[in-house]
Symmetry: C2
Subunit: 166 residues, 2 copies
DNA sequence: AAGTTACGTCAGCCTTGTTGACTTTCCAAG
DNA sequence: CTTGGAAAGTCAACAAGGCTGACGTAACTT
């Protein structure tokens, strides 16, 4: 219960300096994280917002617009602009719901899947390299800390995506 | 050298599914990461870009404009817009260089430090909670993976920031 | 004296986010 | 069967924060 080493554990990893380094690590790593897809997208008519939509439609085929809205955390006007171009250009198909005809169920077309694969190949290549360099133990820690950083609401969204994997 | 379990190690953490979960974890965690400062900033005249500038000026007092440019990875026009308002509103002071009078050395004023503290307190509180929940082992892994994800150029920038820690 | 560097600035554009207002469609409950 | 509200789409306007290109000035370097 003492102020120092409260549970006999070394708490040096909770110093402000360590926390600041963690913050900066997130900042720089996120830049790397988005760099490859951004590079691929530039020149095409699409951007990061399209990538996100395509990713989650791939991830949960048949998802509805409002589902996607919740996951992406943007307004429907914002999402709609993105979705409209994806549909117009034949990357995404919006099927009217069978049960509830107000809903649109979103699917990637062959062309959409092709783009998704290009983007996620690039992004996974970087993740794979990082994972491999750091090792399984580090990867487990990485995932734990990231999960703990999420808002509870988002954490549930995240965990709800199929194949939660331990 | 076989295709399966190449080094006798368990490589299940490198499956596409695991990599995708990692990608999604980054996405959702980054939202949490920026949420608190964003909340504080909204309503003020500032945004995320101002936060970043203030953070790195605090971190490296006396840094020059072009230094900051490199770290933030934006154009000088973009940074200038942000820096101008920070200087006008008395959060940042730009001192003409003693040795090289072309350079401007950036410092936070008392008012600037006050904002920096508000923002970083909020952001560190979340990091601290996440670190505490995950434990020191996990934190080490977290940092390792993030470093491995950075572009080499950015990794050097990151490591160059004082108090590298381990 | 000439060239280069650091910084600032004007103008204009793009992407991606926001509000607010309104319509259409459709399910479900009274 | 009507009606209330949810789901989706759309128009308009705006803001933040990126970008490019073109210039200007002061100061350092060769």
């Amino acid at each position: 219960m003492a102020d120092q080493t409260p549970s006999g554990e070394n708490l040096l990893f909770l110093t402000d300096e360590q926390l600041r380094k963690g913050i900066e690590a997130m900042f720089f790593a996120y830049r790397g994280f988005t760099a490859d897809p951004d590079r691929i997208l530039e020149g095409m008519d699409y951007g990061r917002a399209h990538h996100r939509a395509v990713h989650f439609i791939h991830r949960s085929p048949g998802t509805t617009v409002s589902n996607l809205l919740t996951i992406l955390g943007v307004t429907k006007q914002s999402l709609n602009r993105v979705l409209r171009t994806l549909i117009e250009e034949g990357l995404v198909e919006a099927r009217v719901g069978r049960r509830d005809k107000r809903e649109r169920h979103l699917h990637l077309t062959a062309k959409g899947q092709e783009l998704e694969r290009m983007l996620s190949d690039a992004q996974r290549a970087r993740m794979r390299a990082a994972y491999r360099a750091a090792g399984p133990q580090a990867v487990a820690g990485f995932r734990q800390v990231l999960e703990a950083m999420m808002d509870p609401e988002l954490r549930r969204q995240y965990q709800g995506l199929k194949e939660s994997g331990a």
